[in-house]
């Protein structure tokens, strides 16, 4: 391990809460990958005789209206949450970065053409636009990912464009050009790596918001469709039993809150860890 990595790691570990955040996120990833290991029952297994049971040793977080174990359903729900959160943001980053690079680097008409389209997308409220896409193309996990990605592309394009414009007149960019670099080298060796800090932060925060949007869409019945469990659609069913089974509505709500909070915190720490200029202290 290089000297530098050790320093970075040490700095990260000094922050005790980091362990909690990393732990929760790792747990979510693990649950998404191997839900059958973490969960105690299959997500659709019904125990009609135990409907709407409060939390107990048998059902850690109680049961829903069909007697399904809420804890197990939450665990099985993480797969779709992680898939939508990471998938939509990854897609948005992959499309948004090249658009932002082109717009910021070449400027002029190309910039105007790209950015006016992004502005048009940005002028719609996020959830409304996602709803519109789902309503048009139908509700499915893939469409949820695509619609959230679509809504997010302009945010990344705009962020990257701004960074490129700010970095273009840095001396090391001029120095790289003086050293004989062509446009591609200049973009991918001199400019993009220096713009990565804010992109990573925005992406991590984006995952948090994507989870929220997915939950919102599923809550409205337009996101992930039963029988696939997602925290959003669990919340939707749970609201009918809020007075006689409050633990039912609480569990997915707390999970959404936790996941969003953890990804937000992770975004902040990643920013510090990734920026070499912040490593100096």
């Amino acid at each position: 391990m290089s000297k530098l990595r050790k320093v970075t790691l040490k700095r990260a570990l000094e922050k005790a809460p980091f362990v909690i955040v990393a732990g929760v996120i790792l747990f979510l990833f693990f649950s998404a990958a191997f839900p059958e290991v973490v969960a105690r029952y299959p997500h659709a297994e019904q125990h009609p005789e135990d409907a709407l049971q409060p939390p107990s040793a048998k059902y850690w977080l109680g049961t829903d209206q069909f007697g399904r174990d809420i804890y197990s359903r939450l665990i099985h729900g993480t797969r779709v949450v992680i898939l939508v959160g990471l998938g939509s943001v990854a897609l948005a980053v992959l499309i948004g970065i090249p658009l932002g690079l082109l717009a910021g680097y070449y400027g002029g008409l190309l910039d105007a053409a790209i950015m006016r389209i992004q502005d048009a997308i940005l002028s719609f409220p996020v959830v409304l636009l996602a709803l519109l896409i789902i309503a048009t193309f139908g509700a499915s996990t893939l469409n949820v990912i695509l619609s959230i990605a679509f809504v997010y592309v302009p945010r990344f394009a705009r962020l990257v464009r701004g960074s490129v414009m700010a970095l273009k007149d840095r001396e090391y960019v001029l120095a790289t050009r003086v050293a004989g670099a062509d446009d591609g080298r200049l973009l991918f060796l001199a400019i993009l790596p220096n713009a990565m800090g804010p992109i990573v932060v925005q992406a991590t925060l984006g995952v948090a918001v994507a989870i929220l949007i997915e939950a919102g869409l599923s809550y409205l019945g337009l996101g992930i469709q039963p029988p696939t469990p997602s925290w959003g659609n669990m919340l939707q069913h749970a609201k009918n039993y809020i007075s006689n089974a409050p633990w039912y509505v609480l569990s997915p709500g707390v999970m959404i809150f936790l996941a969003v909070l953890m990804f937000n915190l992770a975004g902040d720490w990643l920013r510090e860890a990734i920026d070499p200029r912040l490593r100096t202290l």
Partner: protein
């Protein structure tokens, strides 16, 4: 010696709302292979713009809003007119045959790339080395610019280097393509005095070893004095005096050059003595004064200096000046 770079009647202009700024207005000079040419003049006299023109970085392709164009002239380098080359051809010259280092080493290195990689990128690009050979060459270059324990420092980031060390790294990167011409644009201005001397010694040593020509730009006559074979003095976009270094210091012919030399503080001077300065300010380059551009600030200006522009005339061995008066 053969002529490496020949600049002929170079005119570089920047359009602005108020009019055209003639930053470089008809400058001609040449650089011989292996020599050091010092270029001095105050801020805004066109030193850097001349060099950016040689590099064909005007207009800056990344910042077209800054505008600027090379309005006329020729820049001959090894028999080719650089101004006539297509951009891909020019890229093969930049960093390869002509390299450049800048004033501020703190901002001229890519902060997110390890030093070794910044070197090997240039080496592989210009010399087609494989990664292993490029790494060895990078190490050799770092040792050449006298960076202590170079092997360990290849994996360091720029922020881990001091200002003087960074300028050494910049020089190593500039040497990556074995250039025939190194343009050093105020290479020591951002460094403190002891480090300045080290960097200048390093440049002199490298030149003796590698035989490249150097154009050393500075507003500091002391920096230029020790290193240059010949010195060009620029004022308001014009070349006003060109002479061998010793002749320039012994017999400065242009009133501006003499005023500049006069303004250099000397260690022996008493404290009560005021520093000599040149009254007035450099002229507006949108509407420069008619005749000689220095006449409003010149204490020996005559009537014809106001009307007629003095041509560059030869007054001695390799010594020419743009002034009517003989001194």
């Amino acid at each position: 010696m053969s002529t490496l770079l020949q600049i002929e009647d170079l005119k570089t202009q920047f359009p602005t709302n108020k009019g055209i700024v003639r930053a470089v207005d008809g400058v001609s000079f040449s650089v011989e292979a292996g020599e050091t040419l010092g270029v001095v003049g105050e801020s805004g006299c066109g030193k850097s713009v001349t060099m950016l023109s040689v590099m064909r970085l005007i207009p800056n392709p990344l910042l077209p809003q800054l505008g600027g164009r090379i309005a006329g002239g020729h820049i001959w380098f090894e028999g080719q007119d650089l101004l006539a080359l297509a951009e891909p051809e020019m890229r093969k010259i930049r960093g390869n045959k002509i390299a450049m280092i800048f004033q501020d080493p703190m901002t001229s290195l890519n902060p997110t790339m390890r030093i070794g990689r910044q070197l090997t990128e240039s080496i592989m690009l210009h010399r087609g080395f494989n990664p292993q050979a490029a790494k060895e060459e990078a190490l050799r270059l770092l040792e050449l610019v006298e960076i202590p324990s170079a092997a360990e420092r290849l994996d360091d980031y720029p922020y881990q280097f001091s200002g003087g060390m960074r300028q050494r790294v910049m020089i190593a990167i500039a040497l990556a393509g074995s250039p025939q011409l190194l343009i050093a644009d105020e290479p020591t201005t951002a460094l403190d005095v002891t480090i300045q001397a080290q960097i200048l010694d390093l440049l002199a040593g490298l030149q003796a070893e590698l035989g490249m020509a150097i154009i050393l730009i500075s507003h500091n006559l002391g920096v230029v004095a020790g290193l240059s074979n010949r010195i060009a003095v620029m004022y308001a976009g014009k070349l006003i005096e060109l002479a061998p270094a010793d002749a320039l210091f012994a017999r400065p012919a242009h009133p501006y050059t003499r005023a500049l030399l006069n303004a250099v503080p000397s260690l022996g001077a008493s404290r009560k003595e005021r520093l000599a300065n040149i009254p007035g300010a450099p002229p507006d380059l949108i509407e420069p004064p008619a005749g000689c551009r220095f006449h409003p600030r010149c204490d020996c200006a005559q009537e014809r200096c106001r009307l007629q522009e003095p041509p560059l005339r030869v007054i001695g061995e390799g010594h020419s000046v743009a002034c009517f008066t003989d001194f």
